[in-house]
Symmetry: C2
Subunit: 206 residues, 2 copies
C-alpha cells in the first residue's frame, strides 16, 4: 500500500511579528493540520499547560534528547532551550497528515535543511509592507526617512529569500485566511499531484 | 511610479470536465478577478449575450483580428473559431488586476508560451481522481478493469505536466474554493513578493 505523505508547513518570521497569535487563531478554526508542540526548558507562564503550549523539560532532559538526535531543530534564547521533537513530525507526515510548526527564524532554517520539501511561510509586520508600498507606489516622492527605515528593514527582506511564501500580518483574520489558502493550494500543486498519478501508472504497469 | 502587475490565471482541462460551471460559480462569489471574455464565430445559444458570455464575431472579423495579432490564443472546433482577445488581458494586468481565462487545453498551451509567468490550473474529472485513489490506496488489489481505465486516462495525466495546479471537480463548491485558494496563495509567493521589496530597495538606493 502506497500512502500519500502529509505536508510540513512552517510558520516563522521576525521576533514580535505575532506568529503565536496567528497560529492560535488558525487552530481555533476547523483545520486538518496537526500542530507540533515545541519543547522548552523555560518555566511555564501563567495559563500555559505542559503538552498543550509546550513540552516543558529540564536542561538535562533537553540536552539528552538533543544528543540522541531527537530534535529536528533547537536553539537557545535567553538561557532557555526551545526545539521541535522529531518523532511526532515524522510519524504524522508518514500517516498522510499535514504538520504545522510555528518557530523562530533560526529554527526554520534548520528544519529547511532536514525537510527541504516542507512549505515555509514568512510572516512580516504590516509596517514593512506599508514601507514598501509607500516607495513602490509613489516612486520618486520618497522621503529620506522612508529610505532610512527601509534600509533598516533590509535584514528582514533578506530573510524572506529562504521562504516559499510571505504573509503580511496586517490583521489576524487576513493572515489566517492566507495561511489556510497556502495549505489548500499546496495540495493542488501539480508537482505533488502528478507524482501520485505517475505512481498509480507505475503500479498499473506491474 | 512602479505599479505591481496583476497575475494571469488560466483554468483549463479535458473537454466535458465542467470548466464553464466552475468559472460561473467562481464569478458568482466575491472576487477581484477580471474575467476575460472569449471571442467566437459560433452562433449564440439560447440565453447567451454578446459581450457577457462571448464576443460573437463573423469568420471574416475573427480572421482579420488573428492576422492583426489581436488574439493571444485561438483554435477551431467544429468549424467555429474560439479565441482570447489580447488588449483586455494586457491592459488589465498592467493596471495591477488579476485576469482569469477559462479555455480549452490547446489554447492554454498557446497562452503559456506568451505568458509563461501565468498560473495554469488543470481541472480533472472526479473519475480520474477515484481511479488513482483506488490504485494508490489499495496497491496490489487492483483489478484489470482499473488498469485498463487508467491506461486510457494516460493522456489526461500527461496533459497535467504543463500546469501549475491540479484541481479535482468532485464538487463545484470544493473546486471553486481551491481555485480561490490558489489565487490568494499565488499573491503570497515569495518569488513575487520579494521582487516587490527588492524593487523598493533599489529605488531606495537611487
Amino acid at each position: 500500500m502506497i500512502k500519500e505523505k502529509g505536508i510540513l508547513f512552517v510558520l516563522s518570521g521576525p521576533s514580535g511579528v505575532g506568529k503565536g497569535t496567528v497560529r492560535k487563531a488558525l487552530f481555533e478554526q476547523d483545520t486538518a493540520l496537526r500542530y507540533s508542540i515545541s519543547m522548552t526548558t523555560r518555566n511555564p507562564r501563567e495559563g500555559e499547560t505542559d503538552g498543550i503550549d509546550y513540552f516543558f523539560k529540564t536542561r538535562d532532559e533537553f540536552e539528552k534528547l538533543v544528543s540522541e538526535g531527537e530534535l529536528i531543530e533547537y536553539a537557545e534564547y535567553a538561557n532557555n532551550y526551545y526545539g521541535t521533537p522529531k518523532t511526532y513530525v515524522q510519524q504524522t507526515l508518514d500517516e498522510g497528515k499535514d504538520v504545522f510548526l510555528e518557530i523562530e527564524v533560526n529554527g526554520a532554517l534548520q528544519v529547511r535543511e532536514n525537510f527541504p520539501e516542507g512549505v515555509f511561510v514568512f510572516l512580516i509586520p504590516p509596517s514593512l509592507e506599508e514601507l514598501k508600498d509607500r516607495i513602490v507606489n509613489r516612486g520618486t516622492e520618497t522621503e529620506d526617512k522612508i529610505k532610512a527605515r527601509l534600509e533598516a528593514a533590509r535584514d528582514e527582506i533578506d530573510m524572506m529569500d529562504k521562504y516559499d511564501y510571505v504573509v503580511v500580518n496586517d490583521n489576524i483574520e487576513h493572515a489566517v485566511k492566507k495561511v489556510q489558502s497556502i495549505v489548500v493550494s499546496e495540495h493542488c500543486k501539480r508537482t505533488r499531484v502528478a507524482k501520485q498519478y505517475k505512481q498509480a501508472l507505475e503500479d498499473d504497469e506491474k
